[in-house]
Symmetry: C2
Subunit: 430 residues, 2 copies
């Protein structure tokens, strides 16, 4: 079939009729499918079920150092859990604080601490007139929700294949002292699935911020989430790069086992310089006596070490790779050449991004919803939920079983085609 923008108005109207019939047929099926959130499937969760047996009633619940982990204390986590987290993100255990069940909560707390307590000895942000964050887009909606909640102004920065537009980042960070942070998902990014190049990481490390309390919020959420054993992205360790560049305190790095073991019952970690860590602990000791050390030990006993994590993640990959490939293969077969947009083919992470033609994303997502397929809301990958081109659609393939995913994909493809044709006819450009 030829590209839609090469069709005459008559051809387009005929195509529209065909697609509308397809769409009506689809709606009549009364589907209830969900490709909206990056949640692991039941089968993925089953992979960690043996973790429930690694600590038992007759286990000695002590850390390696002999601490009774059933009691209060150990604010920054047991040593073996620090090692596990450090191994996942290629940093040193002494940089790590092990938290509770979610890195989202760490990120919230980190922004919150900066608001109330300030970063190191700097003025708490709640005392400032204006605080700004750079937001590479498309990005992770929950990051933007946190910064919006705290009244922080968000500035879009384009995200390319090899990372954010670093010219723009360098310019804004070095010229504006109200720019206090940037949200990054540097590896298999949400939702693009792309990773930052070595050059990008080094440019980050060499930033010369106007604000001394500027920090890079490095959400390494998909650090070990490869889809292919033989084609993996490799990310430079930002903490050591910053140290080398004379900016040791410029990063907070986050990670968790939420998509390694159980999504609500994992462990999470923050890695940063000794100076930042000491500052954080002065606040953390007011907030808590310590996090769940039994769950920390449970994770260590189950995952063991970096190699154990890699073996476990390979099992996840086996389960989800076919889902990613199903979608990209069908997009390739049924959409390419039509001029309806493009899509990513990630080597890891949890998402595929579809770049629909300008002005089509909302319509596609609304149509899919009416046909019983829930997608991530239009605009979600942007601050204030505003996609300036109304083009980006985040697709989360992991949760549904293959057959459902296949059905949902059919619906989605029909909606993409129909919305694209409608848009062309509206524009009157034929």
């Amino acid at each position: 079939m030829k590209a839609y923008d090469q069709m005459t108005k008559e051809e387009l109207l005929r195509e529209k009729q065909v697609l509308e019939q397809q769409y009506r047929d689809t709606c009549a099926l009364g589907l209830k499918l969900d490709m909206s959130r990056g949640k692991p499937s039941k089968e993925q969760l089953d992979l960690s079920q043996p973790m429930m047996d690694v600590l038992r009633a007759d286990s000695v619940l002590e850390s390696r150092l002999g601490t009774d982990i059933r009691n209060y204390g150990v604010l920054d986590g047991i040593d073996e859990a620090k090692e596990l987290i450090a191994g996942m993100i290629d940093t040193k255990p002494e940089n790590v604080i092990v938290y509770g069940n979610a890195s989202l909560n760490i990120m919230y707390d980190t922004i919150n601490r900066s608001m109330i307590h300030g970063v190191l000895d700097h003025t708490p942000w709640c005392k400032l007139d204006k605080v700004k964050f750079l937001c590479p887009v498309p990005g992770y909606d929950r990051h933007f929700t946190i910064t919006e909640f705290f009244g922080i102004e968000m500035i879009n920065v384009p995200l390319y294949e090899d990372g954010p537009d670093m010219d723009m980042v360098e310019e804004l960070v070095s010229s504006d002292a109200s720019v206090k942070g940037i949200w990054c998902v540097p590896k298999y990014s949400n939702p693009m699935g792309t990773s930052y190049s070595d050059e990008t990481v080094r440019r980050f490390a060499r930033l010369k911020p106007a604000a001394e309390d500027f920090r890079i919020y490095w959400d390494n959420a998909y650090c070990v989430h490869h889809l292919y054993e033989d084609r993996q992205d490799h990310l430079l360790d930002i903490l050591s790069e910053c140290e080398k560049a004379g900016n040791p305190d410029m990063v907070y790095e986050f990670c968790s086992t939420s998509k390694v073991t159980f999504s609500g019952s994992g462990i999470s970690g923050l890695a940063t310089s000794p100076t930042n860590k000491a500052d954080i602990l002065t606040q953390l000791t007011v907030q808590t006596i310590g996090f769940d050390k039994i769950n920390q030990l449970r994770h260590v006993k189950f995952l063991k070490d970096q190699e154990g994590v890699a073996r476990h993640m390979a099992k996840h990959a086996e389960l989800i790779r076919p889902k990613f490939e199903l979608l990209t293969r069908r997009f390739e077969e049924e959409l390419s050449g039509l001029g309806v947009g493009s899509w990513t083919k990630p080597r890891g992470g949890y998402f595929i991004t579809c770049f629909a033609n300008e002005g089509c994303a909302k319509n596609i997502i609304a149509k899919a919803k009416e046909a019983g397929v829930v997608m991530t809301g239009a605009g979600a990958p942007f601050p204030y939920k505003k996609d300036p081109r109304d083009s980006v659609i985040r697709i989360a393939p992991t949760l549904p079983p293959m057959e459902e995913l296949d059905e949902a994909c059919s619906v989605f493809i029909t909606c993409v085609k129909l919305a694209s044709v409608e848009r062309l006819l509206e524009s009157g450009l034929q």
Copy 2:
């Protein structure tokens, strides 16, 4: 022996010599004992060891409603955990949000939310010139540390046998709109061990705050922590009393299983009105996708219900009651009649409070420390760590084994006597 203040100077000097010799002998023993923190003992923690087997690798990890608790979601906790928490504090499950491993963290977050987001539609406290909290004293040091961290001014209110000085509370709360809260440990209070009378609870419920965003921070930490099955304190349910009094939104109530199961790996809850709960959830959904639901189910399977909790707590009581009784019996036998102060005989909770003579607490605690016995720091039960009479000593008897506790008690008694004699001699009143 006659009371010290009835002795002549010569008698006192002789007594001092005897005590100094005792103290030197004690120091020579090189003890290392700890009565400083309210931590459960190893034997108490062993009581919950079977909890490690209630969920296993072959368990179906679903909530009663069929939710896969291994995945993301369920922001306010699974229903059965809400019921468990509600049963512990005599409230309705629908009032409860189940959080993570510690109620301290909930309290921190609650103050924090009020600072940043405000209470319901009221001005965030960080925008106000002055925020004040009432602090019944002696009280819990970690409460005061939280309010101090946020720059909230703390006002001491005397705590009596039946609760805080309610005349003073009523006066301050109704006349000063900058008074936004009061910290309460209403049952087996930390450190006095006393409980609020029904009349006190009702006077709380009938408060007429000048500030609409005034809240009672009701830390029901020792709700089920009785020492005696036949002599238990009963606390009126503050939430329903407030509802009856036309103040449904005036309370945040906190509780946890930290001293029921494992101290770092329990579950915790906040109970409040539907209006407050809805407000809290709008912030909580920014902070987290949900807490550890597997640990919630683990607790429900292990403790079962209110009766299960009561049976379990009776086992704790058997272990710690002898420790409380050892101390109070020895104080009775060796200190009473000397005029060196008084002490509480709690029916529950985790602490005994010793009211030493004015000006003696710091000296006693310092002497004990030098002899190898760590007590809670002098002043800790007061805001800003300032005990205006330098009199209150918090004693935490649960952690040490009986023999160690007995040794520590000997040291403490010697220090109390010696410090009291020194004080009398200094004052020159004989």
